[in-house]
Each structure stands twice: as C-alpha cells, then as structure tokens.
Amino acid sequence: MGSAKGEVSELLVRFRKGDRDAEAQLIPLVYSELRRLATRYLNRERGDHTLQPTALVHEAFLRLASEKQPDWQDRAHFFGVAARLMRQVLVDHARRRQSLKRGGDCERSMMTEELLVYTPDRSAELLALDEALRRLADQDERQSRVVEMKFFAGLNIEQIAAVLEVSPRTVKREWTMARAWLHQEMTREGPQTRQ
C-alpha cells in the first residue's frame, strides 16, 4: 500500500476539483482496502461490539492517504466515495454468503468438517435493502447517498452534511424520508419484497 499513499492523496485532490478520471482511479484502490478491512472486522472474534463502519472507513483513509495532509475536506470527499464502496463491499459480502448458503456444499468434506452452519442472518435483508436503495436512487439520488453514508459508512448527520455540502437540517429531512420510504418498500407484500 505504501506506493499507493501519495497517489490516493493526489487523486483525492483532483477528485474534489471534479476530476472524474481521478474518481475512476480512486475507486478500485479504496474498494479493495475497504473490503480487506471489512472482512477482517467481520472475521474477528465474536463479542467485539466496538465495531463501527466509520472506524473502517477512517482506517482505510489513513492507510490510503498521505499522513501529512489530513485535510478534512479531502477526508469528507473520501468518505463520500467510501460510503458507496462500503455499500458495495457489504452487499457483495451478503450476496456471497447467500450463495454459500444455497449450495456449494460439495467441497465441505475437505480439510475440515467444521461446517458452516448458518444461523438466520441479515444478509438477505441487506440484499433487499440494496434493491430498495436502487429504486430510491431513481427517485432521489441524494437520499440514497445519505442512506449509504449513514447506514453503510456510519457517518453522522454532520459528516454527511459536510460531504454533501448542505445543511445538517437538510440531511436530517432526507434521512427521515428515506428511512420511512425504504421501510415501506421493504415491508410491502409482493414479489420484490423480502422478509
């Protein structure tokens, strides 16, 4: 990661100035770092409840960005990117778990029989949320980003406001609506909903 550090800082600066190319280059770097960190956290011993996605995102930032430029604005932008990627990481994660659940037991007898016995988990719910968020984005892009940042990256209202460059009050209003709307979507009877 050492060589990536300066690179990420520079990309962030370019990205803040609206350089889409920089964003394209930033995404894979941030994504892989986030995924690695997230997996590590998820695989930690049970009982570690201090786990917060902000910590993950923050740690990813520290690992990727140059230490000597802790520019809060850069960080805010970084968090914005990271939130979307975190969503992707976690949804991928959930999707993979779903696929493991459905099959692939053929290799189970190898090397260990400590089989993966799944307790009911929230991965299905998470996938449903992802679907609903996509529909929400069609209607209101900003709302879906708020949810991403709040739920997937664990940012608070103020942090989200900084990223979106709007007032906290606005963020709060978006959040209220998005949450109610998503809840309605996800509890609605019908083919697209999941329990």
Partner: protein, 1016 residues
C-alpha cells in the same frame, strides 16, 4: 413520481414527524387539502416512520458481523482471487482452529492445493513463522505417505498461509463420531501414524498437537497427519516449553478455546515442562484410546477438570468399554499413556513394532484377544548376509528360512487359533526324550494353517509378568495363566510314558480359561526308534481334533521327507542347523552328513547340507546335495518343497524364471514369509526391473522388518534406481529400528555419499569402518573410492590388504571378488599386463560361474581372447540352463571379445539377448559402456554419446563402477568427433576434475590429458 410532488412529500413528512402523534392527522388533512392521494401516501410513510423503530439505526457492518459466530464468518478471499501471484482460489472449504482453508489452483504447477491462512496473530511472529516454516518443510521433505505435504509457506496481504496437499475425506474426529472403528482399522491407522510420527521424530520434529481433528482419513482410507509443528507457532511459543500450563487452563476456558484443545495434552505439556517427542506419543495414545473406545480417555466440562484428570487419573481400561479390544492393544495404549515419560514408549517405532506384531498375530479362539507373536529375531546367518548379488549368496541367506519353518508361523494369520505349547512330560526316565519331543510336537503343529504357536519370547515375557523365571516348567495351571497373558486361547501339552507294549504318546489341547479339553490324541509306539514318528502322527491327530480338515493336514504334514523318523537323525540335524545358523559352517557339515547317513531319505537335511556347501563355496558338492533334496522333494510338505525347488533352480541350475515361479508360489502359500519376496526383489533387480524389485522388497520389509536384510536389499534397489531421497528415508527408518550400525547399511551410506559426491559422509563411513573388528568392509569401501578416483597405487595396496585379511579369516572367495573388481578397473585404465595377471590368479580360485564370467570379462578386455573363449565355453557347458549367465553375462563378454577384435557390428549384435535386462544389476553400466566403445569405433559418435550419457545418468547403478567416471572421458572423445569442441572440453574437464587426485601415470589419464591439451 414527479420531482415536485416528491419534494412536497419530503417537506410534509418532515413537518408531520416533528409533531406530536395526535396532531399529525389533522395537520396532513389540512396541508393536503384537495389531494387525497398525496395525503394517503404521506400518511402511509408517516406510519412506516413510526413503525420503523430500529430500522437502519444501526449500521450494516455491525448487522452482518453480529449475526455471525466465529466459525461462520465470511471467507476472507473469494473464488477467482489470486493469492501471492500464484494460487487462484477455487472455493472456501472451511474454517478450523488454525484458520481458514481454501481450495486453490497452483497456476505454476497446475495442481490443486489447499491454502490454509493462519490467524493474524500468528503471522506477526516472524521468528516463529520462520521456525515453523523450517519444521513444516522438514516434515514434508520426509515425503511420508501419512504426513500431509506442505508445498509452500508464504504471505498474502500480511496474512501467513500454508499451501499444502489437498486432501479429500474427513477428519478422524468425524470418523470416530459417526462410526466406531474396528480393531483392524484402529491397528491400520495407528501403524501408519506411528510410522509417520517416527519419521518426523527421527528428524527432530515434534507435532505437539496430535488430536483427532489433526488427523485426516482420506476417501481412500489413508490416514494423514496435518499441521506438524503448527501448534508451537499458533500459540506464539518462542521457547522450547509447552504452550499451555495449568495456570493457563482457566485462561483457555475464559477465552472460549474448546475443551478439545487441552484434552489431548500430555502431563508434561500440562505442567509446562520442556517437551520432547514423547509428548506426541502420549497424545497419540489418547487418540488410539479414542479410536478403540469411541470415547476420550480424559473428559470433563472444563479444562481444569481435564487437566486434573490427565495429571492424576488412570483412564478406564479400553476393554471395559469395548470388549472387542485385544489385551495386547490395551497394553500398547496403556503404555503410551504412562504419565511418566520414562515409563512410556520412548520411540514411535516401538509402538509401531508392537502394533505391527499385533496386526500380524492370528485370531484367537472364540472370545479373548488376538495373540502376540514375538517377531523372530533374524538368526546370525541372516545378519551376516550382506548385499545379495548372486543367487548362490542369496540362497545362503535362505538357510535362515529353514528356521522359519520350525520356529515361526507361516501362512495367512487371520482365522488362526493361538496356542501355547508346554514342555513334554517325559515319564520314561530316559533323558533321550528330553529335548527333542517338544520340538517334534511343535514341528507338526506349526505346519497347521489354523494354529498359531505363541513363541518362546512371549511365553518368557508372560512368565516374567508372573514373577517366574524363564525356565520355569509349565505346569497345567501355570500354562493356562501364561496362555491368558499371552492372549492365546489354548494350551497344548504332551507326554510320553513307557508301558509293556512299548511307549505311550499323548497330546492334548486345553482351554486357557477352563479345565476343559478341546482335543486329545493318543498313540502307541512299539519301539524307541518309532517314537518320533508316533509323536508326529499323534500331533496330527490332535490337529484333526482341533478342527483341521484331513485334506489340510495331508497338505501340510511333516512327513518322512521333511523330517525324519529317526530320533538320532533328528538330533544330528538339529545340531547341524544350529551350527549353520551360528555361522559355523564347517561345524555344521559333519552333523548334516550324519543325519543323512542315519536317514538317507531326509530331504531337509540334504538341503541344509547343500546350503552349507553354498556357504563354503563348494559348487559340486552343493549341486549334489541340493540335487538329492530336489529328487526327494515330493515327500515333503508345501513350503519345504518350494524351498527345495527355489534352492535347486537358484543354486544348481540357475533357471531364473523357474525360480521366480517357485518363489511366487511360495509367497502365496506362506504370505508371512519374507524370503520369497526378498529373493524375488533381488531377481527383479538382477534383471533390471527396479520397479517390481522395489515393490517386492517393500513387501519383504513389511513382513520381516526386524531383520536388516530387507533394509539392506531395498537400500541397494533404491540406490541403483537413483531414488536417493527414498534411500535417505530408509536410513531413518532403519535407524529407528536400531539397525543403523549394520555393516551393509554403512556400505550403502558410503555408496550414496559417493554418488552424491558427499566427501564428509564418505570420510565418516571410512572412519566408521576402521572401528569395526571385521576389516573387510573398510577395505572394500576404500577400494571402491580408490577405483572411482583413480588412485591406482592405493587400490593395489587395498587388494593386498584384502588378500591378507581373507587368508586370516578364511574368506578366500571374498578376496577373489575384491581382486576381480580391481582387475577390471586396471583393464579399463590400460594396465593390461597387470589386469591379466590378477585375472589369471583369481580364475584359479573361482568356484562360482559369476566369478568365472567376471574373469572372462577381464581377459576379453585385455585382449586375451583365447583364454576368455575357453572359459566361456567351460561356464556354459557347466550351467547350460542358467538364465542370467547365458542371457546376460556371457553375451556381454562375447560383445567385449568382438569389440576387441575390431568386429564392432558383431559386438553390438552380441548384446541383443541382454538388452531386455540392460541396466539391471547383472548387466550394470558395463554393457552400455561397451556399446559406446563399439559405436565410437564404428564412427558413430552420436550413438556413442547416447550410450555414455546413459552410463553417466545411471548414477546409483554405477556408483562404484570405474566405467562411470571413464564415461566422461569417452563422452569427450565422442563429442570431439562430432566437432562439438565445447561439449568435448566440458566432458574432458569433468573427467579430469573427478580424477584430480588420480595417479598421473595411469595410461588412460595420460592420454586424456594429451587429448585435452590438443583441444585447447
């Protein structure tokens, strides 16, 4: 939905949510006046807002994380990901205490592997990782079939991982849980694993964490031990001390480490003491216990309870849990579980030997355990036998197998009833009957395929446990106790008494655990001379009484030919046999002759005499005696008859294929005899089929692993087929059996060191040879070294030394062999006169065809054609049916004769009969070397190059041959002819390097130097 409406909903919802619940409806009704659908939608959202409760108030990471217990966490890597730029993840297999396991493809070597990622804390100890790496690789280097191979240890994204053999099957833990193991399975798994442990321990690797989870049973049923040395790494242990102590037990529990982790610890491990290999033996004992009983030896709900139990308590005897467990297995497990290390088994090899013995032991009478048979110690005659190169020498070794007919069991071990034979009650007062009668009963009973006789050693052992001296007379009561202790099911006793009509012989079999008789037999003999024959008949009747079919008794009967009706003849024979086994051949001959005089139809005595003559190197007398035995063979039983046939085809006629056939039949008839496999292996090696040879010899080793012979022979087979790593493993195995100081193995180590150019080992072995009282091995080693390095003067001195030693110790034939080896080298070096002299001298003392043909080879090479021809005719007429001689050795000499007279095409044609056996032990590298010379003369340097390269490539086979070094020189010459100056120079310079310290006046060396100078 249009944007405006959406924004409006946002505002309304936000405002309504701020209000107290009872005012919301009226607020919305007012705000949405006239737009009922808007009101309904916002109201609906408001309801969801109220119901949403904790919805989305947490965060996704926590949601996912909390729903996963440790073992169900997500795999870190995904299918398709590349690890360390080499392994492509195929899928996640699972998670064990030691980390995540994936199936992956090694893109470099295109094979599937298992990748095990170690927990993160492990990767942080760089030294620990390094040490683990060394240990794991050492364990893998053993290439043991029962140790999971580690291919690589590396890191990916800061996580240490192990790439290892991908196994399919299940762990032993799972196997035990789902299905209790049979005694047979327990034995087989335990034997394999103790062998694996032994191999690792010999290399100084301790497992430290043996438990059923770490043992894998593949779908083919082979057990594999996983994770050697990993335990030490896992617990971050940097000292030699154990990882867990009692004080840590509580910590373990607190940390939620499964109780299973402490349940397989040794007491010293629990106490936190320094560990050695014996800790593994304790843990292994626990695993055996669990396999045998389906339960853990020490169990408890907490680590502390288990610790207390394993330090203080004796586990419940396995047989109380599982009645099927033989006493001997229980004893083995108990001994492994001794709390004091010094009381325990000291070596895994000991456990293996005990288990092996038990596996080979026969089944018992209905209820109680399988019998132990004490592995017949090889007789001295066996041990004296070195590498068997010629059949004559081999069959000298077979004399030991005579013993096997009288003292050891043969035939399939399953379904046998185990018996203790007590002494014979001699009620006649005539000392004449004292010793021989028990032997006679034994001889007859041993022929039975349904009986297994508990050997003397096991009886002595049982007596010791009963605090009785070894020579205690076995009364009925005592015999029954011994019988039970030895795990047998019956006692056979016999008596002879005098009455008016002559002698009364009675033989009976009693049950161990009751007073009841199983069978009784009685017969009357009119006179003293017929007593022995009557004992056989009576014993045969007893066999019938026990339940053997008459047909079986007839097939396996000690009758008039296999042994003798004459007590005197039998006594004489016994004496002869005993002396032969001691190596006192000269002493044995008169007794063997006496036995034959007393009973001229005593076939076994003839064959023993024949083998005496084999050892004395007296071929005419040998052929006469074995020929007589062969003529009488119809009178003898199955195994004995095959032994006679093998002796005849091997020593007298040399009909290799008939011999092979006899040996195969013998191996089938008596699956527990190792000589047929050993002999077959040697024949296969002679004929160049090293694959078959190895297979047979491994079988011989499996059957007779207490003897050095199969180790020795297998060693040469591996060396000659260039399997040097396997050979090194064999050395370790032999050392574990306490055989490391056997002369043959030292010679092998020396040969290996020669091949691998390992000067320190060469010197070490030569130094060893100087410490032995027998000087011959040292002389031979030195001579081999001198021959391969071109030290002519020293070589000649060695030969003189060998002659002197041989003269002192009456081993003239031995010195002849040494002499011929040296003469052959002299012939190749260009000392034709000297070679001729030596060959002439050796020829006069040659008794075996092998010796004569070697002399002929030398004579041919130095151009003494007429003499060589004469010798060849002589050999062929004496041994017209000898396969190896007529198909390999003689054609080779003919080829040399043709080559030396300039008929190079004829020289190549002459070799045709031997080509199927090329690069076997008989043809050696000589045939190819001679072909190379002929091709050179034919001006076909390309063909010559091929031949010389083949000579060089057969490293092991040519280990001590002068041809191998000279092949470099010849290669240089051939390359020069193809105008490949570079290749030529390189070959010359290799030769000159190998002969750096050679005596400079050796003609071939002088020529080489001159030729090399011209090339420059």
């Amino acid at each position: 939905m249009d944007k405006q409406r959406w924004e409006r909903m946002k505002e309304l919802l936000d405002a309504a949510a701020e209000l107290p619940p009872d005012r919301r409806s009226s607020f919305l009704a007012t705000a949405c006046a006239g737009d009922e659908s808007l009101r309904a939608e916002v109201h609906n959202l408001l309801d969801h807002h109220d119901q949403a409760d904790s919805f989305l108030t947490g965060n996704a990471v926590a949601d996912l994380g909390e729903s996963l217990p440790l073992a169900e966490h997500e795999p870190t890597f995904w299918p398709g990901e590349t690890i360390a730029s080499r392994f492509r993840i195929i899928n996640f297999i699972g998670r064990g205490g030691m980390g995540e396991v994936y199936k992956a493809e090694d893109s470099r070597l295109h094979r599937f592997v298992a990748l095990k990622f170690l927990p993160e804390n492990v990767a942080q100890h760089a030294d620990a990782l390094g040490r683990f790496q060394r240990e794991a690789q050492t364990a893998s280097a053993l290439n043991h079939p029962n140790i999971c191979t580690v291919y690589d240890i590396s890191e990916h994204q800061g996580r240490a991982f192990i790439a290892m053999e991908l196994l399919e099957g299940r762990t032993l833990k799972h196997a035990i849980a789902s299905d209790p193991l049979s005694v047979q399975q327990v034995l087989e798994i335990s034997i394999a694993l103790s062998n694996a442990l032994d191999a690792a321990h010999t290399r100084g690797i301790i497992h430290r964490d043996i438990k059923p989870e770490n043992i894998f049973i593949t779908t083919r049923g082979d057990p594999k031990m996983l994770d050697f040395g990993l335990a030490k790494l896992h617990r971050g242990d940097t000292s030699a001390h154990s990882q867990a102590t009692i004080s840590e037990a509580a910590a373990f529990t607190r940390q939620g480490v499964t109780v299973g982790t402490v349940a397989y610890m040794s007491p010293e491990q629990a106490r936190g003491e320094t560990l050695d290999a014996r800790t593994d033996l304790f843990s292994f004992g626990l695993v055996m216990y669990e396999m045998a009983t389906g339960r853990r030896a020490f169990s408890g709900d907490t680590s502390a309870v288990i610790f207390a139990a394993l330090l203080k308590e004796t586990p419940q005897p396995p047989s109380q849990i599982n009645r099927a467990i033989p006493l001997q297995l229980e004893q083995i497990i108990t001994k492994a579980l001794e709390k004091e290390r010094t009381e325990r088994y000291q070596l895994a090899a000991e456990i293996e030997a005990d288990l092996e013995r038990l596996r080979r032991a026969p089944q018992r009478f209905p209820i109680r355990s399988e019998a132990s048979t004490d592995q017949q110690r090889p007789t001295r005659a066996w041990l004296r036998l070195g590498v068997a190169a010629a059949i004559a020498t081999l069959l000298a070794g077979a004399v030991g197998l005579y013993k096997t007919y009288y003292n050891r069991r043969a035939g399939p071990s399953s379904g046998r009833q185990s018996i203790v034979v007590t002494g014979l009650e001699n009620e006649t007062g005539d000392a004449y009957f004292d010793s021989a009668l028990k032997d006679s009963v034994l001889v007859q009973l041993e022929q039975s395929p349904i009986l297994q006789i508990v050997p003397e050693g096991a009886v002595t052992e049982a007596l010791k446990r009963l605090d009785q001296p070894a020579d205690t007379k076995l009364t009925n009561d005592l015999a029954r106790k011994v019988c039970r202790l030895a795990g047998a099911s019956a006692v056979v006793g016999a008596s002879v008494s005098k009455n008016k009509a002559g002698y009364q012989i009675a033989v009976n079999a009693m049950q161990c655990d009751s007073q009841g008789y199983i069978a009784k037999a009685e017969q009357q003999s009119e006179n003293k001379e017929r007593v022995l024959a009557t004992v056989w008949k009576t014993s045969a009747d007893l066999r019938h009484g026990i339940g053997e079919s008459l047909q079986s008794i007839q097939d396996n009967y000690v009758g008039d030919g296999a042994t003798t009706a004459s007590m005197e003849a039998f006594h004489a024979f016994e004496k002869a046999e005993e002396l032969h086994a001691k190596g006192d051949i000269a002493g044995s001959i008169p007794f063997a002759k006496q036995a034959i005089e007393l009973d001229p139809n005593f076939a076994t005595a003839y064959v023993l005499l024949g083998h005496d003559y084999v050892a004395m190197n007296a071929p005419d007398l040998r052929d006469q005696a074995i020929g007589k035995a062969f003529a009488l063979r119809e009178n003898t039983g199955g195994g004995m008859r095959l032994w006679i046939e093998a002796s005849y085809y091997g020593a007298v006629t040399g009909e290799t294929f008939k011999l092979i056939d006899a040996l195969k039949r013998w191996g089938k008839l008596k699956p527990n005899d190792f000589p047929p496999h050993n002999l077959l292996a040697n024949l296969d090696a002679d004929l160049g089929d090293y694959q078959k040879a190895e297979k047979e010899e491994r079988e011989a080793l499996r059957i007779g692993s207490a003897s050095v012979i199969p180790y020795d022979n297998l060693g040469w087979i591996l060396l000659e087929s260039d399997k040097f790593d396997d050979l090194r493993s064999l050395f370790l195995q032999a050392s574990a059996k306490g055989l490391e100081n056997e002369t043959g193995l030292h010679h092998l180590r020396f040969a290996l060191a020669q091949v691998t150019d390992d000067t320190p080992s060469i010197e070490k072995e030569i130094a060893w040879s100087e410490t032995t009282s027998d000087q011959m091995p040292g002389v031979r080693m030195r001579l081999e070294r001198q021959i391969t390095t071109g030290r002519k003067d020293q070589a000649r001195a060695s030969v003189s030394a060998a002659i002197k030693i041989a003269a002192r110790s009456n081993m003239k034939d031995m010195s002849t062999g040494v002499l011929l080896n040296e003469a052959w080298a002299e012939a190749l070096w260009g000392y034709e006169k000297e070679a001729l002299e030596i060959a002439d001298r050796a020829m006069s003392s040659c008794k075996s065809p092998g010796c004569s043909v070697m002399a002929a080879q030398i004579l041919a090479m130095v151009g003494s054609s007429a003499k060589a021809e004469k010798l060849l005719r002589n050999i062929s007429s004496r041994r017209p049916d000898d396969t190896e001689l007529n198909s390999i050795s003689v054609p080779l000499v003919r080829s040399i004769l043709e080559y030396k007279t300039g008929r190079n095409e004829a020289a190549l044609r002459a070799q045709e009969p031997l080509l199927p056996f090329d690069f076997g032990e008989v043809a050696g590298v000589t045939a190819a070397y001679v072909r190379g010379l002929a091709q050179q003369q034919l001006d076909k340097p390309q063909e010559a190059i091929k031949e010389f390269q083949a000579v060089i490539a057969h490293k092991g086979l040519g280990a001590t041959a002068p041809e191998r070094v000279l092949a470099y020189l010849q290669l240089g010459r051939s390359y020069a002819k193809t105008h490949d100056t570079k290749g030529s120079k390189s070959a010359y310079s290799q030769f000159l390097t190998l002969w750096k310290y050679a005596d400079p006046e050796i003609p071939v060396l002088k020529q080489a130097k001159a030729e090399y100078a011209k090339l420059q």
